[in-house]
Symmetry: C2
Subunit: 336 residues, 2 copies
């Protein structure tokens, strides 16, 4: 199969920092165009420099306003920022009220900022895989920070959040949020908490609530981390809680400082290296499963109406098609 | 590969209505035990009698209280009810406050009710597939109504909701919900709306909001449905909005009546048959992809440490393993 594009040429232009090339590359990855894995492979050696930050939380927590404020903070430090937005309620993805969208629009024209929203449908390899690979391309393109903004509900969405080096969970002071967050699995993915819109009543109460929940969880864990953890014996991570008003950039310095502290902690305890090695294996695993999915999908598209309308049970149809698939492999290998 | 259990015997006991057999069958499906597809295949001819109802909405909308109230209503009509709960915040799945859990516990001891919560992780075929197959088993076991309760955020969760014959979206009067629901894709999946906790302020306002949003959407659609739709020329479905206070069983009769009306509409317009035919194809498709995933996963588990730690890019590793996979097929076919 001849590739749909020149992977080598595009990789070079992405590595050279051309935003248009980056945008095209991400589209190829998202669409799984022929040759997209060759592109990822060529850029593989250039990844690992960016720090990846997941920002997640329930709808209405102000995740994108926080992302925008954090991005401004990084821009002030002359850092380049890539943003992958997979939250259907995010202004980055177009689902926003007009005011939000204008604010984000301003950010998107800044040099040093690259924003990409990911569709949540259609990828065979799954949204989490495509999102991680979009982040890989941004990383290879020289963005210093890559922020993954995802809605903190739903398994696929949480998978994205945990693929970052550091995951921040954003909540708002409204009642019940701490317990809701715990129930929705947000506590498990958090490296740090942000209480946004903290000028509303209840912020201090929520902070206490989170601290209590976390201390209970913490008490049930061995103090030195899980068995076999590279951080055995090293200082444990005390999860910070930051109050912010992202729309006024309040608390952003502190939030950014905690992110840096967490990254330093990951590095000094050896966790960063271990996590990233595990992430590379995860990539290989996902790429393998995606390949098999792609072949199966090809068989499905080539299935005859007679087979599909045979009246056989769905499982019998699948079995017959899969035998065709295996026969096809035998045929194609015979020729080799 | 010899199956882990006697599919024929278990299928017979499930068809005979034995709850313990049903529970075991669902576990086999969830775990993809050897032989689980044989079980599904044997029961395939017995499915299609249950009406499937999806209940979805944001966290805190009271989906499980509504599910419980609707279940009581059906029990009063001597109908058997199966419940599949995939909402991590649902009391059915154990993530509940004590009061809720006790209420659900009462329901779970009723004869004629079968409750099953599905884990949201681990299934290769995906949560939506496993959930649909759990519903198939309940259907085959003679449950007249199967309620799929899912959290209405996240793509996998919405996929479950739309696999039902009728999907009800549950909202609460709190501000912004209509717009949030629209943004989260809930409007696209709804066949009818429920405004629960409607004794709180704002219920009428939300009802108007939904009606306006729906009328705008409706105006953009051809009145007779999509092209090629079996309902061409037939009466269009006017989406009802029901106000309920599920904790006091208020509005449940009306909600149930709308569910019946929708089912009658599906049947009379030919949509029910068309939807179910499409769902059978979807099952075959998903079963095919799951088979290929399972084989790929087997290859992954058998991968040597040398391959995995070779320092090659993840994509090169996946490619090499996939070649092994194909070679393996060739080898196994040589022997046939």
């Amino acid at each position: 199969m001849s590739p749909a594009f020149d992977a080598g040429g595009l990789a070079g232009r992405i590595a050279g920092g051309e935003p248009l090339a980056l945008a095209r590359g991400i589209s190829h990855v998202e669409n799984e165009s022929d040759g997209f894995e060759a592109l990822l492979e060529r850029l593989d050696g250039r990844t690992g420099r960016a720090r990846r930050i997941g920002i997640t939380g329930p709808p209405g927590a102000g995740k994108s306003t926080l992302t925008a404020a954090l991005t401004r903070h990084y821009l002030d430090q002359s850092l380049k920022v890539g943003i992958v937005a997979v939250d259907p309620t995010s202004p980055f993805t177009g689902g926003a009220l007009l005011g939000d969208r204008i604010r984000m629009g301003e950010l998107s024209t800044e040099p040093g900022v690259f924003i990409r929203s990911m569709a949540s449908r259609g990828s065979l390899g799954g949204l989490a895989t495509a999102t991680r690979e979009a982040a890989d391309l941004m990383d290879a393109a020289g963005y210093d920070r890559v922020i993954l903004e995802t809605l903190g509900v739903g398994q696929a969405e949480l998978d994205i959040a945990v693929s970052a080096d550091t995951t921040a969970v954003v909540l708002v002071p409204e009642s019940g949020d701490g317990v809701q967050a715990m129930k929705a699995g947000l506590m498990e993915v958090a490296d740090l908490f942000v209480i946004n819109k903290s000028d509303r009543p209840g912020a201090d109460r929520l902070e206490k609530e989170i601290a209590i929940i976390m201390s209970i969880r913490f008490a049930n864990r061995p103090a030195t981390g899980a068995a076999g953890d590279p951080g055995d014996g090293a200082e444990a991570w005390r999860m910070p809680i930051t109050q912010t008003v992202a729309s006024e950039a309040r608390g952003i310095e502190e939030f950014a400082a905690h992110l840096d502290r967490h990254f330093d902690w990951l590095r000094s305890t050896g966790r960063l290296e271990a996590n990233r090695r595990a992430a590379r294996l995860r990539r290989a695993h996902d790429a393998l499963l995606r390949r098999s999915q792609r072949d199966a999908q090809r068989i499905w598209r080539a299935a005859s109406p007679e087979t599909l309308d045979s009246g056989a049970s769905p499982y019998a149809i699948a079995r017959r098609l899969y035998e065709d698939f295996r026969e096809g492999l035998r045929g194609s290998l015979r020729g080799t």
